[in-house]
Amino acid sequence: MRQRRLLRLYPSRWRQRYEEEVGALVEDEPLSLGAVLDLVRGAFDAHVHPELGAPSLVGSTGSGQIPLAPPSQRSPAADLLRVVLVLIALIAIGLGLLYAYRAQSPAVPSVSFQQLLSEIQDGRVRAVTIDGSRVTFVLTDGRTQQTTAPSGDIVVRAVSDRNQADPAHQIELRFSQTSPDFSVAPSIFLSVLPLLLVVALIFTAAWAVDRSRGPQRYELLARLGDLKDRGLITEEEFQKEKRRLLR
């Protein structure tokens, strides 16, 4: 089921505890945008609140074999590396966003078609590139502008009229062929790219926050408390572990 895959967005602790239940629920849900957003939001929430995935020990009557994860052995260097990697990822995402924004709003200013015709007639155009109905032109002062032409033929005629009238200053005429199929897919991709990057940024941030909260100290503490309540470890051992965890 496709919906079930969305549960992979959740942190592993949360999944250990709830995945089976939520998975069963999710499979009964019609796959709607609302349901997807609901799960994505839930996953984000679970990342920001890592304490929610902790196994509940109230009323649990299991085999008594609650695995006590060994305290994680992370060196400061590894932590630093993670922070650097997160920073690099953030910078890459920022640059990606900037690029996507630039691609969305090209720097070439648009003018009216009439203006293009009068610029051609006044001899202020150096080169014209026709791509379907889109016409990009370079002015003699070096500026590039673009417009939408009702038909490329009108532009061709205007350019050749001008070239005949002033053969000394020829306007360069070019035709660019981009097939529509080729340009639609990238433009769709580019239009959703900012959204994808924002989602990626949110998850990266959530992951970073999750990491910075330390190696599940309170969850371990809760498990220790449970072991003590079951009489598997003594009060003294519990206090010792607690001091070590909270140090």
């Binding site: 949360w14 709830y18 089976e20 849900e29 994505v40 839930g42 996953a43 109230v58 649990s60």
Partner: protein, 100 residues
């Protein structure tokens, strides 16, 4: 941990569990029936996880996909006081509307 503000989802879940233990699927349907509001799996389990962490509800057994939850004593008290304050709020609102 019982003094925190309950979300509307949390209140719905507590009300749903007020008569008998239910698993997630049953809660979802019960909540839709009593309130007309359908909680998505993400919202439902987000609220369940919070209530469980706060000790207001508890999972009954390791029944896997159909694990039932029930109110704890603290959950009953919290729901009771929440409903009482809702009642007062509703009464005040109705009184003011009637006085207009």
């Amino acid at each position: 941990m019982t003094n925190h503000k309950l979300s509307s989802e949390a209140v719905l879940i507590l009300v749903s569990l007020a008569d008998e233990p239910k698993h997630g699927y049953a809660m979802q349907h019960d909540i839709e029936r009593i309130s007309g509001r359908r909680l998505g799996p993400g919202s439902l389990y987000g609220a369940i996880a919070r209530l469980e962490a706060a000790g207001l509800i508890e999972a009954l057994s390791d029944k896997g996909a159909r694990r039932p939850y029930r109110l704890t004593a603290a959950g009953s008290r919290t729901l009771s006081s929440e409903l009482e304050s809702m009642r007062r709020l509703a009464a005040a609102g109705m009184r003011r509307l009637a006085e207009r």
